[in-house]
């Protein structure tokens, strides 16, 4: 267990270093921000001053070293365009991303668990088939297209839900469903298989033999035991949402971190792109690490290195 833990933590740190390096070198190699910042009348002297001010005159490895050091100190620099600290921009937008991810996770759980349980209990029935179709479609649907079609149907045709932006709860429904569709399908299948396994176990047979009410058997003995992997999975999903945030946020004009990154790529505001990608990736990697540790703790086969 100890070895697994140390290895897994080290791997996460290495992954983070890879992300930092990719982001740094690519954004620096892609073009000179000076040209975007100064207007055409700027003299060479202006360019020099600005270059030195931004630290862009130093050799790349030196810039890289300074950059890594600053990240470790929690300093992401200032935005090239707004001159405000990058951390402020990121903090403003991160709240929106987390809010959307959280609601999407809640929605997936609320859709996935009851449906999965139902299709396990009524195995092979029409509902089970329906759930299968729902899951297969979720696997193959382009997220951004689903989002647009939901806007078309609920926003334009029916006019009952807002098409984008952030505001009251109604603004959350469509983006959260879009983000959570695949995952609710995944939770559904996981709940179904986990429930089927539990329902076939001896203690369920025993509970039935004891003459317990079927509902008590299903909800108390069945679901409670089937839920363990599902809950772990739900946490993992939340982490996945962070990685995919950029797509849904763009479709629904949701003012989150993913969209900020995409906007800043267009304006070549490197510090924001770097900080945004690092924060999302960091949360993503840390979340996955947590899930793995939690799961290995709960699953002795992994804990003892046999799986």
């Amino acid at each position: 267990m100890g070895r697994y833990l140390v290895g897994r933590v080290l791997q996460t740190l290495l992954s983070m270093l890879v992300v930092i390096s990719i982001v740094f070198f690519l954004t620096r190699l892609s073009g000179n921000p000076i040209n975007l910042l100064l207007d055409v009348n700027a003299t060479e002297r202006d360019q020099e001053i600005l270059t030195r001010h931004l630290g862009l005159d130093k050799p790349l490895p030196v810039q890289y070293g300074i950059y890594v050091k600053n990240i470790l100190l929690g300093d992401f620099g200032t935005s090239i365009l707004t001159r405000r600290p990058v951390t402020e921009h990121v903090r403003e937008r991160l709240a929106a991303t987390l809010e959307l991810g959280f609601v999407a996770m809640l929605l997936s759980v609320l859709i996935g668990i009851p449906l999965g349980m139902y299709s396990a209990v009524r195995r092979g029935g029409p509902m089970d088939t329906g759930a299968r179709v729902f899951a297969v479609l979720g696997q193959s649907m382009p997220t951004f297209w689903l989002g647009l079609m939901l806007i078309l149907f609920f926003g334009v045709v029916l006019g009952v839900l807002p098409a984008g932006g952030r505001g009251d709860f109604s603004h959350l429904i469509l983006p959260a469903f879009t983000l959570g569709y695949f995952t609710s399908a995944a939770i559904l299948r996981l709940t179904r298989s986990s429930m089927l396994e539990v329902l076939g176990s001896d203690y369920i047979k025993f509970a039935r033999l004891k003459g317990l009410h079927e509902q008590v058997v299903l909800w108390k003995h069945g679901l409670r035991n089937a839920l363990l992997p599902v809950v772990t999975f739900a946490v993992m999903l939340f982490v996945q949402f962070l990685g995919g945030a950029v797509v849904t946020e763009t479709v629904f004009a949701w003012p989150g971190l993913g969209r900020l990154i995409l906007e800043s790529i267009t304006t070549r505001d490197y510090p924001i792109v770097q900080a945004g990608v690092l924060v999302l990736s960091g949360l993503y990697l840390a979340g996955n690490l947590m899930v793995d540790l939690l799961y290995s703790y709960l699953n002795p086969r992994i804990r003892h290195g046999t799986a």
């Binding site: 992954s15 997220t143 951004f144 297209w145 986990s194 999975f233 950029v246 792109v273 999302l280 799961y295």
Partner: protein, 303 residues
């Protein structure tokens, strides 16, 4: 259920056949040019609607380009991008997987740590940054997708290699004094081919969705190419007035990915029962990055 699973997926086969034929014969099949439109014919609705025209069965976009023709030509982009990206990633991943599994020791440790890192990155986020800063182009999209894809092949092939290496025929070849390269080529590689075929098919849907997402976000295949993702993005501003611009390319994408996934599932069950646990993973973007982390959970998903 078991009976059902054994049947050849006709629906998937038909759609895939149609897709390949469409991509091959796009110049013959497409009624109009995919990139040049008639500005006087812009935003014409599909033929069954009022004002619809027979020359534009699925309507036209804001530049008067024929939506059907663009979808037909767009199939080429999806086919080419997925074939090339998977070809590149598959070759690199297989080579590294074979070497890693056969050599073992330090080589294996280093290569597998690299693979773990590759698999742990948030795919879309990295892809967006990589393509955006390296200028969107066909080549860059393919390279970035391949870069994100190879670890999946490496991991799986390495696992297979470890098993095959223990077989008697490999031991005999070693005793007979054959070189490692010869053994890998003659004994190990042929035995990983079924697995390779299955992983490749399972990745096609993923690659099509990833390319579509990148193009949709404006960091994929550049306009005016008729990439499906790009077409869907084009229609964003016209949802209220010209929904057909976004709807039909999305349907094409959905059907294609659906067909590939069904085919991949079927192949997996037939060629390689060991891979059954690969299941749901990797097909949808948000969850695609889930591979090493929590893959015990994913095994369960495929119940």
């Amino acid at each position: 259920m078991a009976q059902h699973r054994r049947q050849l997926p006709w629906f998937a086969g038909l759609i895939l056949g149609a897709l390949v034929l469409t991509a091959l014969f796009a110049p013959v099949l497409a009624p109009q040019s995919p990139t040049e439109g008639d500005i006087t014919q812009k935003l014409v609705p599909p033929v069954w609607m009022e004002r619809g025209e027979r020359e534009h069965p699925l309507g036209t976009d804001r530049f008067g380009r024929d939506v059907l023709s663009r979808i037909i030509w767009g199939s080429r982009i999806s086919v080419v991008v997925s074939l090339v990206a998977i070809g590149v990633a598959g070759t690199v991943g297989t080579l590294l997987g074979l070497i890693s599994g056969y050599r073992g020791g330090v080589t294996d440790a280093v290569l597998m740590r690299l693979t773990d890192i590759g698999l742990s990155l948030p795919t879309i986020l990295i892809a967006v940054v990589l393509v955006a800063v390296s200028e969107p182009s066909f080549r860059n999209v393919i390279l970035v997708i391949a870069l994100l894809l190879w670890p999946r092949f490496a991991r799986q092939v390495r696992g297979e290699t470890l098993g095959i290496k223990e077989q008697d025929f490999v031991a005999l070849a070693v005793v007979a004094g054959r070189s490692s390269a010869w053994i890998i080529r003659r004994h190990i590689f042929p035995n990983v081919i079924p697995t390779l075929l299955v992983i490749s098919t399972l990745q096609v849907g993923y690659v099509i969705l990833l390319e579509g997402t990148l193009s949709f976000l404006g960091v994929g295949v550049p306009p005016p190419n008729p990439a499906w993702g790009l077409m869907i993005a084009d229609g964003r501003g016209f949802l209220a007035t010209a929904w057909w611009i976004s709807l039909f390319p999305g349907l094409a994408m959905l059907l294609t990915v659906l067909a590939v996934n069904l085919m991949g599932d079927w192949l997996r069950d037939h060629l390689d029962p060991k891979l059954r646990q690969l299941g749901v993973r990797g097909v949808v973007l948000e969850s695609a990055d889930a591979v090493p982390t929590g893959h015990a959970i994913e095994d369960a998903v495929k119940g």
